[in-house]
Every structure is written in C-alpha cells, then in structure tokens.
C-alpha cells in the first residue's frame, strides 16, 4: 500500500503536472501492487485528472483565435480613459 496521501480535491498546478501524476497512477495500477482501497482512490484521482486535462484540451480545441496586439492595446487605452 502506498504511503503517499493524495487529495483528489487538489487542482493540478498545470496540465504537465496533471499528466505526470496521471502517468504515475497508471504505472502504479499496472504494477498490480495497489490494494483495493488504494486502487479505488487512485482511480478516483485519475478520473479527476483526466477530467481536468480534457477541460484544458477543450479550452484550446475550439479553433484558433487570432488577435492583434495593437487592437488589444487600443482597447486597453480606451478602457483606461476616464469617462
């Protein structure tokens, strides 16, 4: 049984961190050494990570958006003008 305590409610720091943890979980599960409680906890955590990663991918999956720095700067200037 792994001694590491994992909180599934913690949001991953980044996509990379989530994928890295997910790979650790899959490796641990594939090893067959995890007990039932650990397996269920890892599966739960893994599902959360998959959900997080899928959401991250979805954010960049709706088509490339092109913006111009000049336009953004102009909007910023307009927005900052006193009314």
């Amino acid at each position: 049984m792994a001694t590491e305590t994992v909180s599934v409610s913690d949001k991953p720091e980044s996509y990379e961190a989530a994928v890295e943890r997910l790979e650790e979980i899959i490796d641990r599960l594939d090893s067959g050494q995890a007990g039932l409680r650990e397996t269920l906890d890892l599966c739960k955590e893994g599902r959360e990570l998959v959900k997080y990663c899928a959401a991250e991918l979805d954010e960049v999956g709706e088509g490339l958006k092109e913006l111009r720095l000049d336009d953004l700067a102009a909007k910023l200037e307009v927005g900052s003008e006193p009314s």
Partner: protein, 449 residues
C-alpha cells in the same frame, strides 16, 4: 584642452572667458588628434553638396553624423547609388569639427576618408564580439531557465504581417490540433526600425498575463537582412523577459544573436510552432482517452476480481461444511460396516470359544475326571456301606425298634415301650419287656423274649 585662462571671472570659479573662435579652433585641433577608427552601421539621410557627401551612420543604439569628400568617395570605388539609405557600410576616418566663421555655421562630423559596403565578415565579426559579451554576462542562460508550459492557452508572435513565416507558423499550430489564441505583434523585420519595433512588441506581449510563450520569427535572408535580430538592445531585452521566447529567424544555417538568448532556437516557423506548443493536442486527446480506459478497467477490475474472490470465499464455508459432512458420512458408513463386521467376528469368535469350552467340558466329563469321580464314588459307597446298620446286624447285633419301627436306643425307652421289635440280620421278632435290669446287661435283670 589646455587653454590657459585669460582671467578668472568672479563668482563662478571657472576659467575664461575665452574667444569662441580661438576655442573652436582648438577644439578642431583636439578632435583631429583623436584616433582614427572604422565604424559600421546603417546609412541614413544621404545628401550631397558640391564638395562632399553627408549622411548619418546609425544602429539601434545611436548615430553619428558623417561626411566624406567627394574625391575620397570616388576613390572608394563604390558603384553609383551604393551609398544610399539603408546600406550597411564600414567607414574609416576620425572626428572632425568645422569651426564655422563669421557667416558659416559650425559643424561636427566623423570625417570618413574611405567607405565600403559592409560584408558578411564585418557582420560576423561584430556578431561574435556581441555574442562573446552577452555570453560572458550570462544572458544566454536566463531564458533557458524559464518554465515552458506544454499547453499554453495563448501565445504571442512577433513577425512581419505579410511574411510567409506567419502562414507557416499558423499551419504548424493547426497541425498540432491547437486552437488557442495567437496574439500578433506585427513588426518590421528588416531595417534599422526593426530591432526597436521587435523589442517593443516582445515587451508588450510579455506584459499581457494571458501570454505564456512568445515566438519571434522571420524568413531567410543574408546576415545583413537578419541583422535586426542581432541587435544588442533587442537581445538584452529578450534575455530579461520572464516569458519564454522561441526564436525562428532565417534558415537553419543562420544563427542570429536572438537565437542565443532565446529559450529555444528553431530553424523554421513550423518548428517554432512545435516549441511554443510542445503538446500535440491530437495525440494528447488519444492518450487521455487511453488513460481513461485504463482507469476504468483498473477500477472495475479491482472490484470485479475482488468480488469474485469474495464470492468464492463466501461459498468456501458451505463447501467446506459439505466436504466435511461427506467425510463424516463416509466415516459413519465405515464405522457401521466395521461394527457389523466386528459383531459378526465376535459372535463367531464366541461361538468358537463356546465350542471349545463345551468340547473341553465334554472331554473333562468323559475323560480322566470321570474315572476319578467314579473311583471316589465307589470309595464313598464303601464307606457308606460300612456304616449301614445291616452290616452291624450281620455281625450279630440286633436293632430294637418300637411299634412304630423307630429305633429304641435306651433301656428306659424299651421299658417304656413295653413291646418291641428286634430286628436281626436275617429277620425280626417281637418281644415284650418284662423287667428292667441293669443297664450294663451283666445278668442282674430279667428279660422277656
């Protein structure tokens, strides 16, 4: 300048005042004594008078006014029009100062005595000097220490608005299935305005919180064409940014200074797209799906396997009971069979024992014992006969009996009976007792017969 003061002005403590013309003349002398050098830079603002050509020699960090006598320019052998705005040239000469006069304006310049177009070697030498300097300052390492997110949501791109690099970069991003935001910081990428514009663009992009990586790119060209990307100020700016910069300038063989200071240097805009978004989103989605399947299988498998195991364990006691019950029944059957077998054997054994006992008894009865007993019987009979009264009577004795044939064993009894019976061995006779004598029978009494 070692002008001696004519007199000291009261109040300021400074030497002078001097005659300005004399001062200007001395200044001219002092400047002309400075070392003669070569300068490299971009020509701007070319103009000509009757006797000389003038221009500014400029780079991103500064400029200096220059002039060359026309005869010197002709000796330089430049083709017509070679000395034009934008040309990268190397000039030789030194500082000069025209003091002017009563009507003429003074003028300071770098008096070139020779001019030539800058060659690749000049630029390479200049580049190497800069490279050495920036490396020594550790500016090549700063960007490389920055974290580059594998899946940025927004990236900034500095390039020419109409260049092919823009198209190639977009195609590279789309091939990876990435659909985040691209913020374009369009800038000239080739002339003396390029480096400052690129520098402003990267700074503005880095200031935007959503931008997680910046790409600086342009297509191929000569080193002179790419020179803006070797600009010292630009490269120092890039090195100090806290957002990772991916450079893709020129072709693979070109190595500009911005490539050295950037977090990643790529050979093409397509490669820059891959470096800016390291994650192949299409492959990542497939991988994620596999992970989800693995997790589902692991979860279901863990529960399923253990459920089956538990089920087997739950059936275990019943099976064990049944197995033990079977064993018990078998034992009972064996015991019963053994018992029946034992009883039969015991009965047979007892029967055999009885037979033996009876046989022995019979043998005892019919054997030596019988003879012994018969002998004893005979001895008993002899002894018994020895005590029979008849045997006494045979020896001459008579038995006195009463009327009731009961023996009379005393004289008194006989006297009392009066009539008696005397039984002899050969028969009996009746007698009457007349008198009673001594009991010892010595003739004192009278007896009736």
């Amino acid at each position: 300048m070692d002008q001696q003061p004519a007199q000291k002005q009261v109040g300021t403590g400074l030497p002078g005042p001097y005659s300005v013309g004399r001062y200007a003349g001395k200044l001219q002398e002092w400047m002309r004594e400075r070392a003669r050098v070569q300068l490299i830079g971009e020509v701007t603002g070319v103009g000509r008078s009757k006797v000389q050509a003038y221009f500014e020699l400029r780079d991103a960090d500064g400029a200096i006014p220059c002039a060359i006598w026309l005869n010197d320019l002709e000796r330089a052998g430049l083709t017509d029009g070679a000395l034009r705005d934008g040309a990268e040239v190397v000039i030789s000469g030194g500082l000069d100062y025209y003091p002017g006069g009563g009507q003429a304006s003074p003028n300071f310049c770098f008096r070139a005595t020779h001019v030539r177009l800058a060659g690749e070697g000049d630029l390479i030498a200049r580049l190497e000097a800069l490279r050495k300097q920036l490396r020594a300052e550790g500016l090549f390492e700063l960007q490389k220490q920055l974290h580059r997110p594998r899946l940025p949501k927004a990236i900034g791109v500095v390039t020419a608005e109409t260049g092919a690099a823009r198209r190639d970069l977009l195609a590279g991003l789309q091939r990876r299935g990435w659909g985040g935001s691209v913020i374009w910081g369009f800038a000239p990428v080739q002339d003396r305005h390029a480096a400052p514009a690129i520098g402003r663009a990267v700074q503005d992009l880095a200031a935007r919180p959503e931008v997680e990586a910046i790409v600086v790119t342009r297509g191929g060209g000569s080193l002179a064409d790419l020179w803006a990307f070797c600009d010292e100020t630009l490269c120092r700016t890039v090195a100090m940014l806290r957002v990772p910069v991916v450079s893709a300038v020129g072709h693979e063989r070109d190595r500009t200074l911005i490539d050295d200071v950037a977090a990643v240097a790529c050979s093409t805009p397509t490669h820059a797209a891959e470096a800016a978004v390291p994650l192949d989103c299409i492959a990542a989605r497939e991988s994620l799906e596999r992970c989800a399947v693995s997790l589902r299988r692991a979860g279901e498998g863990a529960v399923g396997t253990r459920s089956r195991h538990l089920g087997a364990l739950a059936r275990g006691p019943a099976r064990a009971l049944q197995r033990e019950r079977g064993k018990l029944n078998q034992k009972i059957r064996e015991i019963r069979a053994a018992s029946e077998r034992g009883l039969a054997e015991r009965a047979a054994s007892q029967k055999r024992i009885g037979s033996v006992v009876l046989e022995r008894a019979r043998n005892r009865a019919a054997g030596a014992d019988m003879e012994k007993r018969q002998a004893a019987l005979r001895r008993a009979m002899v002894a018994l006969r020895a005590h029979e009264p008849e045997r006494t009577l045979e020896r001459g004795y008579a038995l006195v009996e009463g009327e009731d044939e009961e023996p009379l064993t005393s004289a008194a009894a006989a006297a009392a009976a009066g009539k008696v019976k005397l039984r002899f061995a050969d028969g009996g006779v009746r007698a009457t007792i007349n008198t009673v004598g001594d009991a010892d029978g010595d003739g004192d009494g009278e007896r009736e017969r």
